[in-house]
Amino acid sequence: MTLVATTMADARTASRLLPATLTRGRWLSTIAALTGVSLVTLLICLQIGLERIGLADLMAMVMRLVRQEAAPDGAATAQLIVVHIRLPRILLGFLVGGCLAAVGVGLQALLRNPLADPYVLGISSGASVGAAIAVVLHLVPAVVPVCAFGGGLLVLLVLYRLAVSCGPLAVHTLLLGGVIVSALCSALIMFVTSLVDPARAFQIIAWLMGTLSAPDYATMGWLALCLALGLGLLFRHAHALNLLTTGEESARSMGVDVERVKRQVFVVTALLVGVVVSVSGLIGFVGMVVPHAVRMVVGADHRLLLPAAGLVGGALLVVADTVARVILLPAELPVGIVTALIGAPVFLYLLMTRKGGLA
């Protein structure tokens, strides 16, 4: 049965729905605007630090790098700071923030809960246990993300088993399971750190607080590739995630292969969280606050929400990290503390004002 026969004449009447829906034009203009804002943010943050480096100096640096000239004596230190310390750190912050926000969007859709994020489910904790074990055992650095992925995936599998045994992936079982798994993981981390010498234990604790330390460009390349693949897989299901927010049964009745989408989104989530945790430790609340705020502005359609939250999350974490870098000069704060100080009150506020709380 079709309700109407479509003709060319209908094109004009159909436009009545367009203001209320996501169109390609709105998608492109929103993404373009957010990309511009993000770039400007990165550029501003690049100038800020112990050594203030102006826009003109940055331009001169770019010109020198393009022409492959050596920097004059006065500017050599500044160039070293920008190219090898500040820029990689800012790029890392952008990647990490973007991934956390996108993963948050995906989890919130699957759990139909705008307050879910990788921390609520204990995925980050699981990943941090995996990474901590790898660090304590003195494994080569390349193995750390793999162990973190393993830890995150293990948590997801445990939750999945738990939820499947109580019916088709019951949402509340999953949330409650996440809380318990987080507690278990904290205990495991404390156990691991108590085994090693105090200096090493302090290192692990500092990493757990969430710090962005600049990797070299080759590592960054691999990281970017890994995260891009994960995000691509997540975006592939953007349309299905829209339907999943209305409930699993109703999504299935509209033709979504619910179990397959759920499985893939969970695995991608574990992958992204594993990689992110292994390079930056536990950075909380970006995955919850950013999707929530972006949704209020651009609407709930995941085709726009996912990339928009990614851009905003990236820019926001870079800003938070810049604050962490400069607020106690010459000392630095872990960025995780800054995001928690901003994010936790927002979380509480949302919890109190939301109709029906977490239910």
Partner: protein, 283 residues
């Protein structure tokens, strides 16, 4: 109407259906020994007291639950073998009222019904942009359900009745041959109840839409359904025309409550009322 509905095979053939919740075989089954056929273009009302299995039967017909025994054939094809998107183009399901967690606009909600029609689904980043046809179908569905003026409103700040109508419009946007509804009129005022029933009746008359509709409202079902299926603790107590099913002895025993059945003064269909008591003091 899709190609597979052309022959006059029954829309549904239900044979020896048995379903119990949970894996425990000793569980009291929610549906047992159910067998019946539903013809194309029929409006069937699914009646029965709370817990009699109305919702379960609807979910079995929608392919959301898989029976432990027996089977459901849709246009003579086993429902269990249909891929999800093909099933969704043939059957649309309107669930009972559920909360909305995300601020989609009504237009976006209705357009979700076009999902099984997107050829490009799962293609480039799964974007599946709406085509002109999607927009036209969604708009027609919204006109039928009288929610066009709500297009830009968020689903979480419209009334329960408006949301219900939007969900029915979403199901119609799927352009199904069969529409399953779980208590669609429960949250609606009288005029919108009648509006929805008449809209369904019109879709049935004009386009041969098959409707299976679970309801607690015996009189609404009596007025708008071709046949009624009365469920009693998971099995069929009676299936037939409203006159055959709505009999005071049967309704009294199934619902455990004495009722009066007479003829509707205008349409002549059976009318079920509670016997009532004289209010003390009224002379």
């Amino acid at each position: 109407m899709s190609a597979m509905t052309v022959e006059r095979v029954p829309a549904y053939r239900i044979s020896d259906l048995r379903f119990a919740y949970g894996s425990d075989a000793s569980n009291h089954p929610a549906v047992t020994d159910m067998r019946c056929e539903i013809a194309q273009g029929e409006i069937v009302g699914l009646l029965g007291p709370n817990g009699s299995g109305k919702s379960t039967v609807l979910k079995l017909l929608a392919g959301l639950l898989m029976p432990q025994d027996g089977g459901v054939h849709i246009y003579d094809r086993p429902l269990a073998h249909l891929p999800p998107d093909e099933l969704a183009r043939a059957v649309a399901f309107v669930p009972q009222q559920q909360p909305a967690w995300f601020p989609f606009t009504i237009a976006e909600v209705v357009l979700m019904g076009r999902f099984p029609h997107h050829r490009a689904r799962g293609g480039w980043l799964g974007f599946g942009w709406e085509t002109r046809e999607d927009l036209c179908q969604a708009e027609a569905a919204m006109e039928i359900m009288d929610v066009m003026h709500l297009a830009g409103r968020s689903i979480d700040d419209v009334s329960g009745g408006e949301r219900q109508r939007a969900l029915i419009a979403r199901a119609l946007a799927q352009a199904p041959a069969i529409l399953l509804l779980d208590e669609p009129t429960a949250f609606l005022d009288l005029s919108h109840q009648v509006e929805i029933c008449q809209a369904l009746r019109r879709l049935h008359d004009d386009r041969g839409l098959t409707v299976v509709w679970a309801s607690h409202d015996l009189n609404l079902a009596s007025q708008y359904c071709d046949r009624l299926l009365l469920l009693d603790r998971g099995s069929v107590a009676r299936i037939g025309t409203p006159a055959e099913v709505l009999r005071s002895d049967l309704i009294t025993s199934v619902y455990g409550c004495p009722v009066l059945v007479d003829a509707h003064p205008v349409s002549g269909v059976p009318r079920v009322t509670l016997p009532g008591q004289a209010v003390s003091g009224a002379r």
